[in-house]
Symmetry: C2
Subunit: 185 residues, 2 copies
Amino acid sequence: MLREDVTEAIRTAVFEELAAVGYARMSIEGIARRAGVGKTAVYRRWKSKLALVLDLVSAVAAEGLPAPATGSLYGDVRALLEVAAHALRHPVASQVVPDLLVEATRHPEIADAIRAALLDGQHGVAAAVVRDAVARGELPEETDVDRALDLIVGPLYWRLVVVRGALPAGYLDGLAQSAVAALRA
Amino acid sequence: MLREDVTEAIRTAVFEELAAVGYARMSIEGIARRAGVGKTAVYRRWKSKLALVLDLVSAVAAEGLPAPATGSLYGDVRALLEVAAHALRHPVASQVVPDLLVEATRHPEIADAIRAALLDGQHGVAAAVVRDAVARGELPEETDVDRALDLIVGPLYWRLVVVRGALPAGYLDGLAQSAVAALRA
DNA sequence: TCACGACGGAACGGTTGCGTAGCGACGCAC
DNA sequence: GTGCGTCGCTACGCAACCGTTCCGTCGTGA
């Protein structure tokens, strides 16, 4: 019986290590060190760094994403941005996500895991939002879900992760407003 | 006198190595190997991996960015997107840029270099586009340049670098149209 | 022609991480 | 109380790079 508290300590350490040094530099030794655990304890649970990360990403995927249903396109978009901003402002997530995205181009398994954990979930939520908006007559029938996602999340991701700029009060409101206008165009 | 052809071979190798393995995994030995050059030749020119990369990024910065002046906001935005899409579809750039952006959070010097090389240039171009549009009455006086950049480049970056999705025909046209609508909202 | 300097290559000692093995200690089930 | 499995820890041989040093070679300018 593997001790659950040790397993949890390792999981936590992996996230911290991933944020601190990135996937490429992350080592099993470093994880064990940070977790206050022997290397053996890690190897007894996962066979490699890749397997370890894939397992954690999949665990995140299982959490799911709340689907907004506020009754208006603006409301739904605003809610979606709120969730996204909350996630991307988290210091660990905002570091780990782009790091793994880059690494994904070198490891197809990571790409698959990220797709399943993040992108698919987002796509599902966006599809529901678009479907509802079409039903209400707020959007044309032929609205493309992927394009909608680009327009809604893209600007926020750019600001928070690429430029790493501030998020002034009212920014999300304006962004939601702009996104709705963009979707209608 | 350092031989220019050797210097150039090293520069090329760094870009390739950066794209292939990323900054974290990149080694001086690997660069020299790829360039078909002795380690000595590299160390004779740059004192470290960081100095080497900073020098290359600065060189890119010196190239500058063309400022569109098509006479309409839509035309300017469309042109800007064309340039950005061209850059981000380049296999090396689309790998190196996000990699260095992540690394920038760990090395302030890289953050500064990237800012000088890419973000400042973009900001300048966007400022000119917004200024012209305001002068033509296409945009309100108080339009924020950073927000405009988020709305224009964000969706494209998201699609090309994050989702790594295709760029169907007419996508940029639609995106430019949406961005203009978003800016006016 | 000759001296100088950059060249590629090999080797140096040192560090770090790999994945594995063996250690005694501890805790839990029977 | 006895055994079994996991625990943290140390050590192993191996590999990759680090940054430096010393070769012998080659091209160029004086």
